[in-house]
Symmetry: C3
Subunit: 289 residues, 3 copies
C-alpha cells in the first residue's frame, strides 16, 4: 500500500484492501475486511467498520461512521458481520452515520449528520440532505433528491426522480404504537414540499405535487396538487405557472434538467433514447405508455 498520503495515528485492522492513490486523514480507524477503491479520500477522524466496501473516486468527510453496528453487536460484539456496499464517486459529508447491512449505488451524496440505518436499498445518483434520517428497511430508487431533515420511515418505497423537500416525514404506523407498519409509496417524479407529513400506506402517484405543510391522509392521483391539513386536491400540476414569468412549470421533468440524465437534451428525447432494459431500470413504466 502506498501510504504517502496518509495522516497520523491511523489505526488499521486486518485483511484490508486499499486501492491506488487513496488518501486517509489523521486519526482514522479502518477496521477489518474493508475494501476502498482507487482515488478515494477518507477525511480525518472517520471510522470505517468491518465488511464495508467503498467505491473508487469517493470522498468521505470527517468524523463519519461508515458501516455502523446493528443492534446485534450490542448483544454480542462478535456478531458484527454485516456488509455495507457503497458505489463509486460517493460524497458523504462530515458527521454522517451509515449502518452496515445496506447497499448504496454510484454518485451518492449526503449532507452532514445524516443517519442511514440497515436494510436500506438505495439506487444511483441519490442525494440526501443534512440531518436526514433514513430508518432502514426501505427502497429508494435512482435520482432521488432529499433536502435537509427528511425522515424516511421503515417500509417506505421511493421510485426514481422523486423530490422530498426539508422536514418531510414518511410515516409508517397507522395506529401508533403498533407492530403493523405500512410504508408510504412515492412514485416517480412526485414532489413533496417542505414540512409535509405523509400518512402510512399512502401512494403518492407519479408527477403529483404535495404542498408545504400538507398532511396527506388519502392517496394522491397522478399530476394532482394536494395541499392543506388534511390535504385536499386543489389543482392539476399541468395548470401551475411560475408567478413571475407566467410559464407552465410542471411536470417538472419537462422544465428542469439540472443533474438529470436528460440535461441538455430534454426529457422526451432522453426517454425516447432509452432501450427497454434501461427504461425498466428507471421504473417509468407507470408514466409512459
Amino acid at each position: 500500500m502506498d501510504t504517502s498520503n496518509w495522516g497520523k495515528n491511523i489505526i488499521l485492522g486486518e485483511n484490508i484492501t486499499i486501492g491506488e492513490n487513496v488518501r486517509i486523514g489523521h486519526n482514522c480507524i479502518i477496521e477489518d475486511n474493508v475494501v476502498i477503491g482507487n482515488d478515494t479520500f477518507i477525511d480525518s477522524g472517520t471510522t470505517i467498520r468491518s465488511f464495508t466496501s467503498i467505491g473508487a473516486q469517493s470522498n468521505i468527510g470527517s468524523n463519519c461512521i461508515i458501516g455502523e453496528y446493528l443492534m446485534d453487536f450490542y448483544m454480542d460484539h462478535e456478531k458484527h458481520k454485516h456488509e455495507l456496499i457503497i458505489g463509486e464517486k460517493a460524497l458523504i459529508r462530515s458527521g454522517s452515520v451509515i449502518y452496515a447491512g445496506s447497499t448504496i449505488g454510484d454518485n451518492f451524496q449526503t449532507g452532514h449528520h445524516v443517519t442511514i440505518r440497515e436494510k436500506a436499498e438505495i439506487g444511483n445518483d441519490v442525494s440526501v440532505g443534512t440531518l436526514c434520517d433514513i430508518e432502514g428497511s426501505c427502497k429508494i430508487g435512482n435520482y432521488v433528491r432529499m433536502q435537509c431533515n427528511v425522515l424516511i420511515g421503515q417500509l417506505s418505497v421511493i421510485d426514481d426522480f422523486v423530490w422530498l423537500f426539508p422536514n418531510v416525514i414518511l410515516t409508517n404506523d397507522p395506529t401508533p404504537p403498533s407492530k403493523h407498519f405500512v410504508g408510504v409509496h412515492v412514485h416517480s417524479f412526485a414532489t413533496v414540499a417542505a414540512g409535509a407529513i405523509i400518512m402510512p400506506g399512502m401512494d403518492l402517484e407519479h408527477d403529483c405535487l404535495i404542498g408545504a405543510g400538507a398532511v396527506v391522509t388519502k392517496p394522491v392521483e397522478p399530476y394532482a396538487v394536494a395541499v392543506g391539513s388534511p390535504a385536499r386536491v386543489i389543482s392539476d400540476v399541468r395548470n401551475v405557472r411560475n408567478k413571475v414569468t407566467g410559464e407552465l412549470v410542471y411536470p417538472w421533468r419537462e422544465h428542469f434538467d439540472r443533474y438529470m440524465p436528460w440535461d441538455g437534451m430534454g426529457f422526451d428525447a432522453w426517454y425516447a433514447s432509452l432501450d427497454l432494459e434501461e427504461r425498466s431500470k428507471y421504473t417509468l413504466a407507470d408514466i409512459v405508455g
Copy 2:
C-alpha cells in the same frame, strides 16, 4: 485496571474508577473523577467529562460527549463540577451529547446525534430517537419512547409510558419571546403522532391520541383523539380500529406489549400484580381507580 481491551491514544484524567472488563476505544478522553461500571464499552473518539458516572453493562457509541459543559464553564473553566449519573445497561449511540447536571435511569437508549441538556430528570427504560433535543429542566418518567427529532422544551413533564413520534414539539413560551415559560404535561399512555406541536402549558391527559401534524391549543381529555390545526377532538380512542383487521386498538396498553413490562402477560394482569409502592412509581394513579 485491566487495560488489555483498551485502544490507542487514550487520555486519562485523575481519580478515575473503572470496573472490570471495561473496553475503551481509540482516542477516547476520560476526564477526572469519572466512574465507569463493569462490562461497559466506550467506543472510539468519545469524551467522558468530569464527574460523570456510567452504570455497568452500558454501551457508549463513538464521538459522544458525556457530561458536557454547562454555560458556567465558559465563564470560568474551573467551575465545571456538575454531576451526570447514567444508570446500568445504557445504549447511547454515536454523536450524542449529554450534559452534566442530569440524572438518567437504567436501560436508557438513544439514537445518533441526540442532545440532552442539564437538569433533565429521566426515569428507567426510556428511549430517545436520533436527533432528539431535550432542552433540560424537565422531568421524563419511565418507559417513555421518543422517535427521531423530538423537541422537549424546558419545564416539560412527561409521565410514564408516553409515546412521542417524529418531529413532535413540546413548546413552553406562550408569548414568545418572554421569560414566563409554562411547560407541557403529557400524562401516562398518551400518544402524540408525527409532527404535532403542543402549545405551552397544555395537559395531554392519559390515553389520549394526538394526530399527525396537529397544533394543540387546548388541553386534551383522557382517551380523546385530537387532530388538525388548531386541534379538535374528533373521537374517543376506544372507538379507533385497525383499518385492515377491524380490531379495536386503543388504549394501546391493552393491545401492545413490545418492550413493556407486561410483555406476555397483558397490561391488566401486570398492573394487578404491582404493589402500592410499585404502582406509585409508575404514576398510574390517574388512570386506574
Copy 3:
C-alpha cells in the same frame, strides 16, 4: 507559541498565527493559514481548516469542523482557498460544521450539530440553536435568535432582532424543483413561532407574530398576528395579552430585554440614545419615524 495549555496529538499546518493564552485540546487539527485570537479555547477533536480566522476570547467545542470545504474541494483538492472570518467571543458548541466562505460577527453562539454553509453573512450577537441548518447565500442581521432545528434557505434575508423558534423553515423555491429561488425577508422584531413554514419570497414585516405551525403564503403586515394553514391574520400584536397576568406583551421589544442592548434601560431610551450611524446599523429605519 506558548503550548503549555495544549493537549496531545495536535496536528499543525503551516503559517499559523496563534494568540496568547490559547488552549487547544487533544487530537485537534489546525490546518494552514489559520489565525486564532488571544484567550481562545479549541476543544478536543476539532478541525480548523485553512484560511479560517477566529477572534479572541472564543470557545470552540469538541468535534467541530470550522472552515469546512466547499464543493470545489471535491473537484480539486488544491482549490480550497476560501476564507472564514469569525468575530470575538464566539461560543460554538460541539459537533458544529461551519463552511469557509462566510463571515460571522462578534458574540456568535451556537448549539450542537449546527451546519452553516458558504456565503452566509451573519451580524453580531446572533444565536443559532442546536441542529439549525443555515444553507448559505443569505444575510442575517444583529441580535437574531434561532432556537433549535431552524432551516434558513438560500437567499433569505433576516433583519435585526428577529426570533425564529424551533423547526421554523424559510423556503425559497416557489415551484419545486426549479432554479428560480426567491428568498424570504424577515424584518426587524418579527417573531416566528415553532414549526411555521414561510413560503418563498414572503415579507414578514416588522413586529409581526407568526403562530406555531402556520404556513405563510401571503406577506404579513407590521404588527399582524398570522396563524393557521394557510395563515390568516387574526389580530394585532398590540392586542395580545399574557393569559396569566393580563398584561399587554407586544411589541416584545417594549417588554423583554434579556441579552438585548436595551437591557435595564428600556427599548425607547436605548433607541433614543443611538446616533444615526448606529441606527442605520440596526436597520430599524422601517419601524421608527
